[in-house]
């Protein structure tokens, strides 16, 4: 008759599973807390550089322009329903056809890419030449919508060249223009 096999040799070492209940409690509390405070849309702000306005006699707004004797560029981008006009204190930059916008609409949409590129060319020539080579004035026709204005600001503030952001004209002012 055989011996009864040894119990010690066959007994496996029982591993107690780790107690994860307190961990679970922690998760259950932390996750709702973070979920409620999470921001899923990121907001940003665009700073406007406006001189303090002074009222004219008939309720119009006159801007107090700083008195400077240096050469001024007064670069202005005007948004119209036909495209962008780029002008300076001296002249209006004409498009390929005389009288057309500098940057005409591209398939019915504004061509922000071309605007950035054009402003980049201007920036290259204007830098160190003018006192206000960081400044740009934006004008728009009355019915241009807010998104277009903001996108134009983006296009005139920076340009992405070869994956790098280049500063163009970071001081953006809005002008009411003459309606």
């Amino acid at each position: 008759m055989a011996y009864r096999p040894s119990k010690r040799a066959r007994r496996s070492i029982e591993t107690e599973p780790p107690n994860i209940a307190p961990m679970m409690n922690l998760m259950v509390v932390l996750i709702p807390l973070l979920l409620t405070s999470a921001e899923f849309v990121r907001l940003g702000v665009i700073e406007l550089n406006l001189p303090p306005a002074a009222a004219g006699p008939d309720g119009t707004v006159l801007n107090q322009m700083p008195i400077e004797s240096q050469r001024k560029l007064d670069l202005t981008v005007t948004i119209t329903d036909r495209g962008f006009f780029i002008s300076s204190a001296m002249a209006v930059l004409s498009g390929t056809v005389q009288g057309n916008p500098t940057i005409p609409l591209e398939n019915g949409n504004y061509d922000f890419q071309a605007l950035s590129q054009k402003l980049y060319d201007i920036k290259q020539r204007a830098v160190n030449q003018f006192a206000d080579a960081d400044h740009i004035i934006l004008m728009a026709e009355p019915n241009v919508d807010y998104q277009t204005v903001v996108s134009t600001m983006d296009a005139s503030r920076t340009i992405r060249l070869h994956g790098q952001l280049e500063q163009l004209f970071p001081d953006v002012s809005l002008s009411a223009g003459v309606f």
Binding site: M24, E47, L48, D145
Partner: protein, 164 residues
């Protein structure tokens, strides 16, 4: 002689205690927790975007700042959440100043200056402007001009940051 283990004895151990399998759930929670911690921002929501307007989208990186909140939705102009003027009335106003908005802003400017005199908290004239992305330019410029006129020259336009 080979020992044959008793079948009866093996089955006698029975179905014991059944433990819930929590490991996969823990994995899920851990991933969620890491994701939420990464998106967590310490300064919280300074600006609550209004429900009835869609802000424009922009590439700017500047984080929002606190300031007087002027909202131009499709129906109303609100200053710190209180309606002051109908947006539809804006188009018929001559000149660039919106009288009711000016009155409301002047009152806030007055309060700000009183605070500055009493407690020394600097009144900087900061105003954050939330406008619907469909807002036409001639209405926007009227609101901006009124803000500048009413001692709030420090204007900031609130936008959604573009993804990526």
């Amino acid at each position: 002689m080979a020992f044959i283990p008793s079948r009866r004895k093996q089955h006698k151990t029975g179905p014991g205690e059944v433990r819930m399998q929590l490991t996969s759930m823990m994995d899920m929670f851990t991933i969620l927790l890491v994701f939420l911690l990464k998106t967590y921002s310490t300064h919280g929501q300074l600006i609550n975007p209004s429900q009835d307007l869609t802000l424009p989208v922009s590439d700017v990186q500047n984080p929002p700042e606190v300031g007087l909140d002027v909202t131009v939705s499709s129906d109303w102009i609100l200053v710190n959440g209180k309606p002051v003027e109908k947006t539809s009335n804006l188009a018929v106003i001559n000149g660039y100043i919106v009288p009711k908005l000016e009155v409301a802003l002047e009152r806030y400017a007055e309060e700000g200056r009183k605070l500055e005199a009493a407690y020394g908290t600097k009144f900087s004239g900061k105003v954050t402007i939330q406008g619907d992305k469909k807002l036409p330019y001639h209405l926007l410029i009227k609101v901006l001009a009124t803000c500048g006129q009413s001692n709030f020259p420090n204007m900031r336009l609130v936008v959604y940051q573009r993804e990526g």
